[in-house]
Assembly symmetry: C2
């Protein structure tokens, strides 16, 4: 993996760059649609490529490990071959899902024991094992196993949790370096900064992470309940330490405004289920504000979803028709809204990149934050 920093904004931390992987290039800043179970919900792979214009998608190690399982993924020749997505894939470590989804999880020094949310079966994720799993998945970028403490964790818990995460990180990193890709394409390993909402813990974590010299670095444990301003502060604290010549990935964030604020603070990569999950509930993000498509006000609005929108769905379907589909609980509603929201997120980061390169990011961002926050 190669990262080229093309431009850093003069009046903010915003950066434009290019990541090159064996499955193609990624223009940063980038938003990565989440394909939890090997599919971005309700969106065909060719729609992701041609309509959404996704450059990289996520897969979830926890989900893929449980279903279809590593035997199937391995025999398919990795996730790219299994789901037919030929561009880059990033996989998380599964740690976050172990803590949010599974039952009876137990943290030990060796790793995290948990029971499957599907059938109750018992499993152990160790820092080494999640590297092996991600070798089998064949993701272009794999993530270290970490513990993600709640946003309101006290200092004692956060500190103890961070120490475990750092020990796990060392083990995962060593195992990554001792193993090789399985399918002939390179894989990068990103360590993750934790430390809850404590600047000193975040600094300690970022310094350790930076010291590894990995091909990219991630910021985890944010957007998990802490105030938004605290999240922005933690990003600033961490990005002062993470190397500028490596991509920085802010995990699980967020709203369009969060995305813009993170980019301004030097973040290069983001992912979130929000555009797809909210789409399935009828919420559309647009460059003119937020629309709840179940609202009665759209019932007789026969204008296109968004005349100047980034995807064809914005022009071929009307607001009234989309509202009807949501009220009638039709699957096509979720399909249209998912494509729209993802295309909007990709448009948003693409525009951010363009304005960083053109040198007017800050004024554009200020106006856009106001626009995308409106309720239509």
């Amino acid at each position: 993996m190669k990262f080229t920093l093309l431009k850093t904004d003069t009046s903010s931390g915003a950066r434009a760059g290019l990541i090159e992987t064996d499955h193609g290039s990624i223009e940063t800043p980038i938003f990565m649609p989440v394909g939890t179970q090997g599919t971005v919900k309700a969106v065909h792979q060719h729609e992701l490529r041609d309509d959404v214009k996704a450059q990289i998608i996520l897969g979830n190690t926890y989900h893929l490990y449980l279903r279809p399982g590593m035997d199937i993924i391995s025999r398919a020749g990795g996730l790219h071959k299994f789901n037919g997505w030929e561009r880059p894939i990033l996989t998380d470590s599964g740690g976050f899902q172990v803590f949010s989804l599974s039952a009876n999880r137990k943290l030990k020094e060796e790793g995290a024991w948990f029971r499957s949310h599907i059938d109750g079966s018992k499993h152990l994720f160790t820092p080494e094992k999640v590297v092996d799993i991600q070798r089998t998945i064949g993701s272009d970028i794999m993530m270290a196993l970490d513990e993600c403490p709640p946003g309101d964790s006290d200092r004692a818990y956060a500190s103890k949790s961070l120490d475990l995460t750092l020990r796990w990180l060392r083990r995962g990193w060593d195992h990554f370096n001792a193993t090789s890709p399985l399918y002939g394409h390179s894989q990068a390993f990103f360590p993750i900064v934790q430390g809850a909402s404590f600047p000193d813990l975040r600094r300690k974590s970022a310094e350790f992470v930076a010291s590894l010299g990995a091909e990219g670095n991630a910021i985890g444990g944010l957007a998990v309940g802490e105030p938004t301003e605290v999240m922005y502060e933690m990003i600033e604290v961490v990005n002062e330490i993470l190397p500028a010549d490596k991509p920085r990935y802010l995990m699980g964030v967020g709203t369009p405004v969060n995305i813009l604020e993170a980019i301004e603070r030097g973040v290069d990569m983001m992912d979130c289920v929000m555009p797809t999950r909210n789409a399935r509930n009828g919420m559309l993000f647009t460059s003119n504000g937020i629309m709840n498509m179940r609202n009665k006000k759209w019932a007789d609005d026969f204008s296109p979803i968004q005349e100047d929108g980034p995807s064809y769905v914005d022009r071929v379907y009307s607001k009234a028709y989309l509202r009807h589909l949501f009220i009638a609980q039709e699957l096509l509603a979720m399909q249209i809204a998912s494509i729209h929201n993802l295309a909007f997120y990709l448009w948003l980061v693409g525009e951010a990149r363009r304005h960083i390169i053109e040198g007017d990011f800050s004024s554009w961002k200020k106006e856009m934050v106001e626009r995308v926050s409106r309720r239509l």
Copy 2:
């Protein structure tokens, strides 16, 4: 609407024809995907056009009348404008749904009273009103209001029901002829043959229907519980009477074998929810047989869904991946299976047409009945 009979098979009743409407041509025999609430479930309009190669789709008067309602459809400029489907649309009369879905329905001479299955509100469908509704929807082909008695109705009930249907038909036909299209394109009105499983009632009904001289004629009240052989017999009885120079539409039928048997007996148009409903449950129809995609046997079958299948989904997704999507309850599973099944049905009727024109329909049909009936 214009119907041209291009070829009649020498050794069976099978026919190849062409229907021309103001929204484009329809090559018969044709299968019509069902778009109940103004959308064919889980399929985008451009996918219907380009991947499924649908030439005409259905809308359901009962559903559209209740939701979004005629005010919205009218102000949209009709259903074509509302949902963006620019090719022909056929609407049923709503009668079938009144009897199968609504609560507290009451049949009177004037029409059918019913309560909405959505909110319990009370409504009346008369033969005249369903013409008006279909004028508002703007379907290219509208259907007469009828009562569809159960497949095991006794003769007394079936006869009484038929008499009511015939009186309704006369009223609907008169009202159709006394009213005009609303959106500048022509609309045809198809009367429906009823008569349950009684040949003499079917004949009586078909003779009355034929006497109207409508632009096309329909056969209703079949595939509602009677034995398959009885259904085929009724089609034969009716098609001896319905004029050969008008298209014949067999309503709500059926399996791939039913489709082939109906074509052999001189049917030109068919519709059914089976390809889409069964798709959503994981059942795929193919030219090699039926596949239940939830079956464990597909878990490690990494070959394409159908190498020589009629749609791109057959080649870009593997059986193992599609099976994973169904087991993981992913929306994409329903999307892929719906496109596949509809594309297969359209392929099947297209092949039937080709073989009718080439003169070897009977031998092709015999082989195909055997093939599509297999369980894979």
